[in-house]
């Protein structure tokens, strides 16, 4: 029973989530926002993030679990008036 549960858990963790990143559909196995930002290739770049319209501080990305359908914004400094 325990092994079944563990296997089921691993199956869920490896599954791809259907996310929206910066308005575009994006499938990702990333479980947290930190993993997503890394997986997408932002490296050490200066970015800010929001999930489903809510700001997520850089320090909170690790603790932010992603789920199917989540809308993620990854933004950077830009010119403005």
């Amino acid at each position: 029973m325990q092994q079944d549960a563990r296997q089921a858990e691993q199956g869920t963790a490896a599954a791809s989530r259907g996310l929206f990143v910066n308005g575009e559909a994006c499938a990702s196995a990333a479980a947290t926002l930190t993993e997503l930002v890394r997986e997408l290739g932002y490296g050490e770049r200066r970015v800010a993030t929001a999930v489903n319209g809510q700001f997520v501080a850089g320090s909170e990305r690790d603790a932010t679990q992603l789920k199917d359908g989540d809308r993620v914004e990854i933004v950077a400094p830009r010119q403005g008036g």
């Binding site: 910066n22 290739g41 200066r46 993030t49 319209g53 501080a57 400094p77 010119q79 403005g80 008036g81």
Partner: protein
Amino acid sequence: MNIIDRERMTDGRADAADAFAPYGQEVGSRLLLGTAQYPSPEILGNAVKSSGAGIVTVSLRREAAQGGGGDRFFELIRSWGVHVLPNTAGCRTAKEAINTALMARELFDTRWVKLEVIANDDTLQPDVFGLVEAARELSGQGFEVFPYTTEDLGVAERLMAAGCDVLMPWGAPIGTARGLANPYALKTMRNYFPGVPLVVDAGIGAPSHAMHAMELGFDAVLLNTAVAKADDPVEMAAAFGEAVAAGRKAFLAGLMEPRDMAAPSTPVAGTPFFDLGQKR
């Protein structure tokens, strides 16, 4: 109206005492410059320098992983040594503006935010309801809010009650270069909030518009397109810097009152060929 400022003037040292200090931060120039739509980063940098602006506005936008422009731009603005004022351009709801401001605070490491909540795509006019709501929330979270607003006095009072110590009424819709569409309302606003830093923001097209705002007693002017879209942005930026300074100097010097009927400047007494009692 000018009495208080006149008292501050002494033998030309008015410049040192006449400080523009939004939220207590002394800024040398009364011109705020936007950073968008310049032909190149180099021209942008030279325009900022030639304008003498002490504050520049910036934004934040979605960035692709392959991008990298954000870091470059951030380093560029830091190299100028000016105050950075992030905006919430494009936000249509209080929620969008609040979360954009939160992201901007982290990205630019500043409490300052130029708060924009927009009601209409054609006029880009402020959504005053969302604006007040967002201002209240952000002020409560420690932001120093520079709200882009209208000349509506009721809205202005609500913004101040919500925690804003600066107001930024529009001159005309963003990017229209129409100048001060309603100088009468702006003058009224200036009279209603004598101690409040007021910055005319949006719609400026020519240095004369900026100078007009300063002559009315406004504390500063914010503009972007008028410089960025000029044939020579660097020269235009310098012109705006001079216009803002000249307008301030004129305001402090005490402008004469306009009148409808002519009043001769040359003395009447001693006019040659003047025969008293004879109809001319």
